[in-house]
C-alpha cells in the first residue's frame, strides 16, 4: 500500500495558478465563523495555524493573501492527480481531501522496486510543484499513519508495529473527539494502547478505536475501494522515448492487443468494450473507449477499431510532447466461442459485424442501428431501432411475422415520422376518414382510404397529458390523395369521449388528426 499526502494541497493549487508574493492562506466558513482552512509554509512561519479565525489572522498580519475555499476545485484536482497515478497501478483510491491511496502490490517491480517507484513518483510530483509525503506499508492504516505523522522512509516489511508505536493516536484516522478523550486519560501514542486489555478500551471508546488499530496492524483486512472499476484484462507498455504519431500508437495497440488476445483465449473470453489509456508526458491522460458488436479477440480487429476511434477523435487527442505510456484494458469481457474458420454465410456475418464495429467506432454506437420488433400494438413501440452492437440474435421479427399473419394486420408505412405531426383535416363525422387535409402547407384531397384500425394504449398506463397525442385510442387510416401520395393518418381520441368532454366544458372541440407515416 502506498499513501500519498499532499500537506499543502489547497495552497499549492493556488500557487500553480498564479504568482503569490505574500503568505497565502485559504479561508472557509466553519460553523458561524470564517476560519483558516489551509495555510502555506510562509504563513506557518508567521505563527498562523489552521482553525484560527480569519479576522484574528488579518489583525496579526494585514499583508496576508486570503483566498476563499473552493472544495469543488480541490476535489477536481485530486481526481486529476488520481487519474495521473493510474500510470503506477490501476488500483487508485481518493483519500479526501488531500491524499491518495495506491495499491502497488505486484506493480513495484516494473520500476525496479518500491524505493525506485517512490523516487520516480516523488520526482514527478516535485516537478508539478506539490509538497508531498509518500509512505509505503503493508496496510492502508500503517501507510497513512507513516505518511501523515511518521517518518516516511522508515518502512520495512512486517514492522507495522514498530512504526506505529511512537506515532500519536490521531494517526489511526480517529475522530478528533475520540483522540481528545483518550488524551484526557493519558493515552497519547499508539504504543500506549497497543498492548492494553481490549475489553475496557472497547467499553469506554467504542469498537471503532480497536478496529482502526487492528486494520493498521494488519490483523483485520481493510479493502481498498478503487475509483474506477478494475478491468479484467490489462496490458501496458512504457516507452523510453515518447511516441506521438498515429501509426506508432496503433502499432502499440496491436502489440498490446496481441498480449490481451493470449489471455482472453486462455479463459475463453472475448472483449466487448476496450479502453485505450494514453499517458502524456506532462501528466495529462487520454482515454479512448471502443465497443464491439460481438466478443472480439483478434488483434488486427482491435487495431482497426482504434484506428476509427483515433480518426473520429483526432482533435481531442493532441499528443503534445508525446505519450510515454499506453495501457489497453478490456473493460467488459464475455465468453466467446473459439474462433472458427467458416465459409459462406458465417464469414459474411463476420464481415458485417466488423462493418458494424467500424461504423460504431467512428460515428458512435448510437448512430448505427437495427430494427427490433417488440410485443406491443403502439406503432412507435412495436418496432424500435436499437444500437446494432447491442441487439442480440432474437430480434422479435419471427414473432412479429406470426402475429401479422394471424391477426391480418393492416399494412404499415415505409417511413415513420419521429413523432406524429398534427394536421388540419376535414373528416366525415363521426368516425369516417378525412376527406382532405393540410400538412406542411400542402393540401391533399383524399380519393381512397382504408380503415379505421383502432389502436389503444395499454389500460394500465396513465393518460399522458404532456404529449400531444396522449395515451388516447387512435384510429388509423391509410389514405391516398389525388396524385398518388399515400399517408398513414390517425385521429387521436374517440368521438364519444370528445362529446362527453364537450358537454362538460360547453365548448366545441374538434378531434385532433395527425400524420404518422408515409407509404412508398
Amino acid at each position: 500500500m502506498l499513501s500519498l499526502w499532499l500537506p499543502r494541497f489547497a495552497t499549492d493549487r493556488i500557487r500553480r495558478l498564479r504568482d503569490v508574493a505574500a503568505p497565502l492562506v485559504i479561508a472557509g466558513r466553519r460553523g458561524n465563523a470564517d476560519v483558516l482552512t489551509a495555510i502555506d509554509e510562509a504563513a506557518e512561519r508567521l505563527g498562523l495555524s489552521t482553525g484560527l479565525a480569519l479576522a484574528q489572522a488579518r489583525a496579526m498580519h494585514p499583508a496576508l493573501d486570503v483566498v476563499p475555499e473552493d472544495a469543488g476545485a480541490d476535489s477536481e484536482l485530486l481526481e486529476t492527480i488520481a487519474d495521473w497515478c493510474l500510470r503506477y497501478t490501476p488500483l487508485v483510491a481518493c483519500d479526501a481531501p488531500d491524499g491518495l491511496l495506491l495499491d502497488i502490490s505486484g506493480c513495484a517491480h516494473l520500476y525496479g522496486g518500491e524505493r525506485e517507484l517512490v523516487a520516480d513518483f516523488g520526482r514527478r510530483l516535485a516537478q508539478t510543484g506539490f509538497a508531498y509525503r509518500i509512505a509505503i506499508a503493508g496496510t492502508i492504516g500503517a501507510a497513512w499513519a507513516a505518511a501523515h505523522d511518521g517518518n516516511p522512509d522508515a518502512y520495512a516489511a512486517g514492522e507495522e508495529r514498530k512504526i506505529l508505536a511512537p506515532l500519536p493516536l490521531a494517526a489511526l484516522r480517529l475522530p478528533p473527539e475520540t483522540v481528545a478523550s483518550l488524551g484526557r486519560v493519558g493515552l497519547k501514542r499508539i504504543g500506549d494502547i497497543i498492548d492494553r486489555p481490549r475489553a475496557p478500551l472497547t467499553a469506554r471508546f467504542g469498537t471503532h478505536l480497536l478496529r482502526q488499530l487492528d486494520r493498521a496492524l494488519g490483523v483485520e483486512h481493510e479493502p481498498l475501494t478503487p475509483r474506477l472499476p478494475v478491468a479484467p484484462y490489462v496490458a501496458e507498455k512504457r516507452f523510453h522515448e515518447p511516441i506521438a504519431r498515429e501509426e506508432d500508437v496503433l502499432g502499440t495497440v496491436e502489440k498490446l492487443a496481441a498480449r490481451l488476445a493470449t489471455a482472453l483465449e486462455r479463459r475463453g473470453d472475448g472483449a466487448r468494450r476496450i479502453e485505450l489509456t494514453l499517458f502524456r508526458t506532462d501528466g495529462a491522460l487520454r482515454r479512448i473507449a471502443a465497443g464491439t458488436a460481438r466478443p472480439l479477440r483478434d488483434p488486427a480487429d482491435m487495431r482497426a477499431l482504434f484506428a476509427e476511434r483515433l480518426h473520429a477523435m483526432a482533435d481531442e487527442i493532441d499528443p503534445g510532447f508525446g505519450f510515454d505510456m499506453a495501457r489497453l484494458s478490456v473493460l467488459v469481457a464475455e465468453p466467446a466461442p473459439p474462433e472458427q474458420i467458416g465459409i459462406g454465410a458465417a464469414e459474411d456475418a463476420g464481415e458485417l459485424v466488423r462493418l458494424v464495429d467500424r461504423l460504431s467506432a467512428r460515428l458512435g454506437a448510437q448512430r448505427v442501428r437495427r430494427a427490433v420488433a417488440q410485443d406491443s400494438h403502439i406503432p412507435e413501440v412495436a418496432c424500435v431501432s436499437l444500437p446494432a452492437q447491442m441487439t442480440g440474435t432474437d430480434d422479435g421479427w419471427a414473432a412479429f411475422n406470426r402475429h401479422r399473419t394471424d391477426a391480418g394486420l393492416a399494412p404499415r408505412p415505409l417511413r415513420l415520422l419521429a413523432r406524429p405531426e398534427p394536421i388540419e383535416a376535414v373528416a366525415e363525422v363521426p368516425d369516417g376518414p378525412p376527406l382532405r387535409f393540410k400538412w406542411r402547407r400542402a393540401l391533399h384531397d383524399i380519393v381512397a382510404a382504408e380503415g379505421p384500425e383502432r389502436i389503444e394504449g395499454a389500460w394500465w398506463q396513465e393518460e399522458n397529458e404532456t404529449s400531444a397525442t396522449g395515451n388516447r385510442a387512435r384510429d388509423y387510416f391509410r389514405v391516398e390523395d389525388k396524385s398518388g401520395h399515400r399517408f398513414w393518418l390517425f385521429r387521436a381520441g374517440l368521438y364519444r369521449d370528445l362529446t362527453r368532454a364537450d358537454v362538460v366544458q360547453g365548448a366545441r372541440a374538434t378531434p385532433a388528426w395527425f400524420v404518422h407515416g408515409m407509404f412508398g
Binding site: R358, A371, L417, R478, E480, S483
Partner: protein
C-alpha cells in the same frame, strides 16, 4: 404473349452469365431491362431522385423495391443525414416487413455530415455482406470525387449504391443511371365507398443512362411475389417530365 416472346428474345440475345459486361440486376420487365442493357448495373452508383420533396416516399419505395430485388440473403444499409430522418421519417421495420424486405437485414446509420455519409457508404460497399447501400442525401450538390470513389468501391464487390435525393439534381455525375420518381395513382378496383387500395405504383423516369437510351414507365410493386410489374409506359421516351394522372391504366 408478346411479352413472353420479348423475354424469350432477350434471353436468346443475352445469354445468362454475360461474359463481357459486369453483372446486372434484371427488373424482370423486358421493356425496362432492354433499355438498361439487361438490368440495373451491379457494382455501380445509381441516383434515385424524387421529382419534388413530396414524392420522396415514392422514391423511397422505388429504391427499397430495387433493394429487395438485389439483396437476397445479404444486408442492406440505409445511411441518412440526421436532418433527413427528422424531416421525412426513419425507415419503419414493420413497414419494410410488409414491403418484402426482412428488417433484420437492414442496418440504419445516421450521420451528422455529408462526408461521414460518403465514408459510411464506401465502407458499406466494401463489405462483402452488404448487397445494397442506400445513401439519403436530401439537398445540395454531390462531391463528384466522392461519387467516383463510391463507384470504385461498389465495382470491387459488385454491390449496388443508391443515392436517394429529395429533388432531381442537374449536376454532372458519374452515376450509371439517374432516375426521377414520382408517386402514381394506384389501380383502385372500385370507386365510391368503401375504397379499395391497389398495389403501390411509381412513375419512374430514367433520365440518364450510360448504357442506353432513357425512358419512362409506371411500375407497380407487388409485395406478394416481391417484384415490379409494368403498369404502363408513362410517356413517350425523352418527353418532358410531367405527371399525367388522367392517363388511366389498361
Amino acid at each position: 404473349m408478346l411479352d413472353e416472346l420479348r423475354q424469350h428474345l432477350a434471353r436468346l440475345q443475352k445469354p445468362a452469365g454475360l461474359v463481357e459486361g459486369p453483372a446486372v440486376l434484371p427488373l424482370g420487365i423486358p421493356a425496362v431491362d432492354g433499355v438498361l442493357g439487361g438490368g440495373l448495373a451491379c457494382g455501380a452508383v445509381h441516383e434515385i431522385a424524387a421529382v419534388s420533396e413530396a414524392h420522396l416516399p415514392a422514391a423511397t419505395g422505388f429504391a427499397l423495391g430495387l433493394a429487395a430485388l438485389a439483396s437476397g440473403e445479404k444486408h442492406l444499409l440505409w445511411i441518412a443525414e440526421d436532418m433527413a430522418l427528422l424531416e421525412s421519417g426513419a425507415p419503419y421495420g414493420a413497414g419494410l416487413e410488409a414491403f418484402g424486405l426482412a428488417p433484420r437485414r437492414l442496418l440504419s446509420v445516421s450521420v451528422a455530415h455529408r462526408h461521414d455519409l460518403m465514408w459510411a457508404m464506401e465502407e458499406a460497399l466494401r463489405c462483402r455482406a452488404v448487397a445494397v447501400a442506400i445513401g439519403e442525401v436530401r439537398h445540395g450538390a454531390l462531391d463528384a470525387v466522392a461519387v467516383r470513389r463510391l463507384s470504385l468501391a461498389a465495382s470491387e464487390t459488385g454491390a449496388l449504391a443508391f443515392l436517394l435525393r429529395a429533388q432531381p439534381a442537374h449536376d454532372a455525375s458519374t452515376a450509371a443511371t439517374r432516375w426521377s420518381v414520382e408517386a402514381a395513382v394506384s389501380n383502385r378496383k372500385t370507386f365510391g365507398h368503401p375504397f379499395e387500395f391497389g398495389a403501390p405504383r411509381f412513375a419512374a423516369h430514367l433520365t440518364r443512362n450510360r448504357r442506353g437510351p432513357s425512358g419512362s414507365w409506371i411500375l407497380e410493386w407487388r409485395d406478394t411475389d416481391e417484384r415490379f410489374i409494368l403498369a404502363a409506359h408513362a410517356e413517350p421516351v425523352a418527353a418532358p417530365l410531367r405527371h399525367r394522372s388522367h392517363q388511366k391504366v389498361a
